[in-house]
Amino acid sequence: MTPDLIYPAAGAGLIGLALWRLATCGDTLRRIMALNVLAVGIAMLMLAAGRETLMLAAGRETSTLAAGRDTLTRAAGQDTPQTAGAGFLQAAADPVPQAFVLTGIVVLVAVTAALMALAERLGARDGD
């Protein structure tokens, strides 16, 4: 298994898992969680595809890449100590899918909050 395949496989696995759960369980909280897992899987596929792009372009290293790596190294020292060690980190990926995923995360938390609010209203009525 090459590294290029590991993360797409994880993403596809998450998607399959989430879809299976959605289609077999009627519990509200579980369904909301399955939808979250589905979104995570999609994000992983997208980021993996974005990384592959840069791996292919690694030969002709662009300024983006350099800037990304520089800043990334700095950030690593300050905010993510648990992954310290610059050699361990990959080159910065294509920024556009990163932006997509970032947007997707924020959108998803909003929809999740709405779903939870609805589910709780329904649940509260059940208890009455």
Partner: protein, 301 residues
């Protein structure tokens, strides 16, 4: 690079395993814990995929805040009462899911992956006003997406206001929480400010900073600071609505100045972006806080 591959494989297996646990455990608290763990592992794997901005956001929002929401829901919804699916249905679902995920794996693994974006981003980064490419995409090249994304947050808030689910009243966690909050809140405010400022050239930005601030706010809430004061809630609501208003007005103002919607004037892009990001940070923090604490008149447990 064999240890790294091993690490990757272990990470991927961990993500899948935790997700499977989250979706199959019958104990509510256990599933939420597994879900939060999944989020953290996913954030780690995204660091490995070279996306630290996203990893930060996933850890703060995807794992932290969503997990908190799930915890709130798990308490209120009570134990799981799902009936097991019919065998035929389970089989059909498994088959469909397997087919689809196999097809996806094949499609993504064999895709040419020749993105048109990196060279264009690289070429335009000079003019964007910031040197972090992700921030440049979010707030300059595709700022329209971001504006609409803030609109999603606002609409979700409107929905929650309309539904008014029960408000959160925290348990008395005792003497421990308040000192914890006393330390966490100032630190979180500092970190948020730092993330916001460095977002221009390094990983970080409005979303991450807003999420950290929201976390601080939640720490305050759980530490017993009452947010049900009407004035405080009104102020938070106004703050939450203000972000989109500022962004939209800035978009219109930029069109009035340069002729292009969201086209910042030459040389002033950084100032515009920092101003917008500042407003967004506060607004996102307020929105996330309100989405968690709710609007209801009744309170639950």
């Amino acid at each position: 690079m064999s240890p790294v591959v091993l690490f990757d494989a272990a990470l991927a297996l961990g993500v899948l395993g935790c997700a499977a646990l989250a979706l199959t455990l019958r104990d509510r608290t256990g599933t939420v814990a597994a879900f939060m763990l999944t989020g953290l592992l996913v954030a780690l794997s995204w660091l490995r995929l070279g996306a630290p901005d996203v990893a930060l956001a996933e850890a703060a929002i995807g794992a932290g805040l969503t997990g908190a929401l799930f915890l709130r829901g798990a308490r209120r919804l009570g134990p799981l009462r799902a009936r097991p699916p019919a065998p035929a249905q389970a089989a059909a679902a498994a088959l469909g899911a397997a087919v689809l995920s196999a097809a996806l794996l094949w499609a993504f693994a064999t895709a040419p992956a020749e993105s048109l974006y990196p060279p264009r981003v690289a070429a335009a980064l000079e003019d964007s006003g910031v040197s972090n490419p992700v921030t440049a995409v979010l707030l300059n090249f595709r700022a329209w997406d971001t504006l609409l994304e803030i609109a999603v947050l606002v609409v979700a808030l409107l929905l929650v206001m309309t539904l008014s689910p029960p408000r959160v009243i925290p348990d008395k966690l005792g003497a421990l929480v308040q000192p914890f909050a006393r330390i966490v809140v100032p630190v979180a405010v500092l970190v948020a400010g730092h993330l916001l400022w460095q977002g221009a050239e390094a990983p970080g930005g409005a979303f991450q900073a807003g999420a950290v601030l929201a976390g601080a706010g939640l720490a305050l809430v759980l530490g017993g600071v009452r947010v049900d004061r009407r004035v405080l809630r009104r102020a938070l609501t106004a703050l939450a609505l203000a972000g989109l208003a500022v962004f939209t007005l800035a978009a219109l103002a930029s069109q009035a100045v340069t002729g292009a919607l969201l086209g910042y004037p030459d040389g002033q892009a950084k100032a515009w972006i920092i101003a917008i990001e500042g407003a967004l940070t506060l607004s996102i923090a307020a929105t996330l806080c309100l989405l968690f604490t709710g609007y209801g008149r009744r309170s639950a447990r």
